[in-house]
């Protein structure tokens, strides 16, 4: 037993819950207050994580390009993102001449909210989960498609022919890459036998060979398919047609300025973290690990996956739209489904450990 085990956070939350009971809340009030508190804690944590990720992307991109990135605002520029946020708040909120003002107004808000909602079922550590729904991963898949709605709303509400085209094209991309993503997640579910995130993590307990990524032959394939499909979901290079359209015709968020743009921007980074969190939970063993506390392992693994995504962005050129869709429909989907069939057959024939 090493001293680090003492840093597990579950006892802290149990103590807080008992404190609330002692104060006198009971019944539904207790449920509401405890869930609201947990959600606020997760929201606050994720906001900090988003700011950290923006800073980290700039440092990673700088070092890949053999330069330093932000260096002036604090030690190695750590509060650069806060300053950028302040600048965006002070920017003029450009009013778009459109009849559908409500659509234009709500699109960034929906994107922002849809980015945070999946975190209700993500296990941050041992016993650290807001709500252990027994349909955990299905809930996440259902909720992440809200992003598509916000893209289409942004494209439509901008009252701009090219923003609409860009929005529709990115919606097509996101929808087509949902299919291989779901197929690769199903591969994991076949083996865990349950949709609940906590159960999926528990199946990977023990030695790290139990992690799904090491369960050959379907594990690595499913992981790679998931990472590719999720990069496309998050609109990152090499699939960043919606963002790169700004070179020529407008992307879906060209008419947004100031805080509205900041919401889209932060939503993208939270999405990236979601991709990492799901990959960690499903494939990399969740919060399992030796010596360090479980929540620290979770963050280390997630940030590793996010780092991988950032390296993709700064290394590869961009795919053309028809090549992107061809890649999804002609290559990824057959591979993902073949993998799923293989996994199903292996489970049926009990050829696994």
């Amino acid at each position: 037993m090493t001293p680090f085990i003492l840093l597990e956070l579950q006892p802290v939350f149990v103590w807080l819950y008992n404190l609330l009971k002692k104060i006198g809340l009971s019944g539904s009030w207790l449920t509401i207050v405890s869930y609201a508190g947990l959600s606020l804690i997760v929201f606050g944590l994720l906001s900090v994580v988003a700011l950290f990720l923006v800073w980290w992307e700039r440092k990673v991109s700088g070092h890949v390009q053999q330069r330093y990135g932000p260096m002036r605002n604090g030690w190695h520029g750590w509060y650069q993102t806060l300053m950028d946020g302040v600048k965006l708040l002070l920017k003029e909120d450009v009013k778009v001449v459109t009849r559908d003002k409500a659509v234009f107004f709500w699109a960034p808000i929906i994107a922002f909210v849809a980015a945070f909602v999946p975190y209700v079922v993500i296990p941050f550590g041992k016993g650290l989960i807001v709500a252990d729904l027994n349909i955990g991963i299905l809930y996440i898949l259902a909720v992440t498609t809200f992003m598509v709605i916000s893209l289409l709303m942004a494209g439509w509400g901008s009252h701009n022919k090219y923003a609409l085209l860009g929005g529709m094209r990115s919606a097509a991309q996101v929808v087509s890459y949902e299919v291989p993503m779901v197929a690769s997640i199903l591969t994991v579910i076949v083996f865990s036998g349950s949709l609940s995130m906590v159960d999926i993590v528990n199946v990977q307990s023990g030695l790290f060979f139990n992690w799904f990524i090491f369960r050959l032959p379907f594990g690595p394939i499913a992981f790679m398919v998931y990472i590719t499909a999720a990069t496309a979901e998050a609109n990152r290079t090499p699939f960043d047609i919606p963002e790169a359209e700004q070179e020529l015709v407008a992307g879906y968020n060209v008419e947004y300025s100031g805080m509205k743009f900041a919401m889209f921007f932060l939503a993208e980074f939270i999405n990236m973290f979601t991709v990492g969190a799901i990959a960690t939970t499903l494939f990399l063993g969740g919060w399992h690990g030796v010596i360090l506390p479980s929540w620290l392992w979770f963050f280390v693994k997630t940030l590793l996956v996010v780092f991988l995504l950032m390296l993709f962005r700064w290394t590869y050129p961009r795919l053309r739209v028809d090549q992107l869709m061809g890649f999804a429909w002609k290559f990824l989907i057959p591979v993902a489904f073949a993998n799923l069939v293989l996994a199903g057959w292996m489970k049926y024939a009990r050829w696994y450990w």
């Binding site: 390009q65 700064w314 590869y316 050129p317 961009r318």
Partner: protein
């Protein structure tokens, strides 16, 4: 259920571009995703250089010719000086010729590095942009050491060069060339075998040999189609016949060939500079020309191999201190003219890649 009515619409790829091609406006007529027609609108950078040259003496025209194509300003200076030297039959000392060749080839490397940086960025890979410019800094530091300027040099004058090189130029130049040689394999390793890069550049923007010659395309764009034509070997000027170098050619005339060809040309340019550095003779660096320089009456058209292609200068002189007509011919003018033919029926992303691979610099088009 009749046929769906589709309509072509016009997209304006406006004067401002994210990468440094310059200010060029392309009106695209599009049918859905496909580009049906491209019509370039130029003139945003027209500075009337030719008209101003008619009002300046011959040595005063050289800083103007720097701005004719500022990415390879040494070549522009040299083209003008060569034309005047042919007109007036001026002998240039050998040391000056060696220095000129070194500067021209260094400028060629710098220009091709800029091409690599901006083309990769247009196709989506942002990191090579930083790599290309980092190497370009080494060369520009050499230029700054020699003539004090980073972009528009005013160094190659009529009759020679404007000042001699410093003693530390030669070792620093060798060091810079060694660094660039090492990094070239990095650049090629990053993109050459990358499947995304190959999917975006192979078979895109193909230009046939007949089209290229008919439209006056020259330089690496012509060599990528397979025609082995380089003015340094086919119509030699200066002392290029003293050096031993190859002319790389491509096979298909697509974007990938044009990109790879320019990287190979960097290697050949390094070879030339190393040979030149080994053999710089001692001597004068400039022939003295009179203050009121009056070449004899006559006309001359001289052409050199710029990084982009053939740069030509036509000078008509009537024996006075100012030229009667200076016509500067830049290769990007012809390349922009052939762009609508090459980019028929392609997607927008292909058009962006093709436009980037032609290495068009707008000041050459607009003058």
């Amino acid at each position: 259920m009749g046929k769906l009515r589709t309509e072509e619409f016009i997209v304006n790829m406006g004067p401002h571009h994210p990468s440094t091609h310059g200010v060029c406006r392309l009106m695209l007529t599009m049918d859905g995703e496909r580009v049906v027609n491209v019509e370039p609108y130029i003139g945003y950078l027209h500075r009337a250089i030719e008209k101003i040259c008619e009002n300046r003496t011959y040595p005063q025209c050289i800083p103007l010719m720097d701005r004719f194509e500022y990415v390879t300003a040494m070549s522009c200076d040299y083209a003008f000086s060569l034309a005047v030297e042919k007109l007036a039959q001026i002998e240039v000392p050998e040391r000056a010729e060696y220095l000129r060749v070194i500067m021209l080839e260094l400028n060629r490397i710098a220009s091709h590095l800029l091409f690599y940086a901006t083309t990769a960025m247009d196709i989506g890979a942002v990191t090579p942009f930083l790599y290309g410019f980092r190497e370009r800094e080494l060369i520009i530091d050499l230029f700054e050491m020699t003539c004090g300027q980073r972009l528009t040099y005013n160094y190659i004058r009529i009759g020679g060069v404007s000042r001699d090189i410093l003693p530390e130029f030669v070792p620093k130049c060798r060091e810079a060339l060694n660094i660039i040689k090492g990094k070239l394999s990095d650049y090629q390793g990053l993109l050459n075998e990358n499947p995304i890069w190959k999917a975006r550049t192979k078979g895109i923007g193909v230009m046939s040999q007949e089209l290229a010659v008919a439209y006056g395309v020259s330089g690496p764009n012509l060599r990528a189609t397979g025609i082995k034509f380089d003015l340094r070997k086919d119509d030699p000027y200066s002392i290029y016949d003293h050096f031993d170098f190859d002319i790389p050619i491509g096979q298909n005339g697509d974007v990938f060939d044009r990109y790879l060809l320019r990287l190979r040309e960097i290697e050949q340019a390094i070879k030339i500079i190393e040979q030149a550095l080994d053999g710089i003779p001692e001597g004068e660096y400039k022939t003295k020309i009179p203050f009121r320089f009056k070449p004899p009456a006559g006309e001359v058209y001289s052409r050199i191999e710029n990084s982009r292609g053939e740069m030509g200068l036509y000078i008509l002189s009537d024996g006075s201190t100012k030229p009667v007509r200076v016509k500067a011919r830049g290769s990007s003018y012809n390349h922009l003219q052939v762009l609508p033919e090459v980019a028929k029926d392609c997607l927008i992303a292909d058009l962006v890649a093709t436009f980037a691979s032609f290495d068009i610099i707008m000041p050459e088009v607009d003058r």
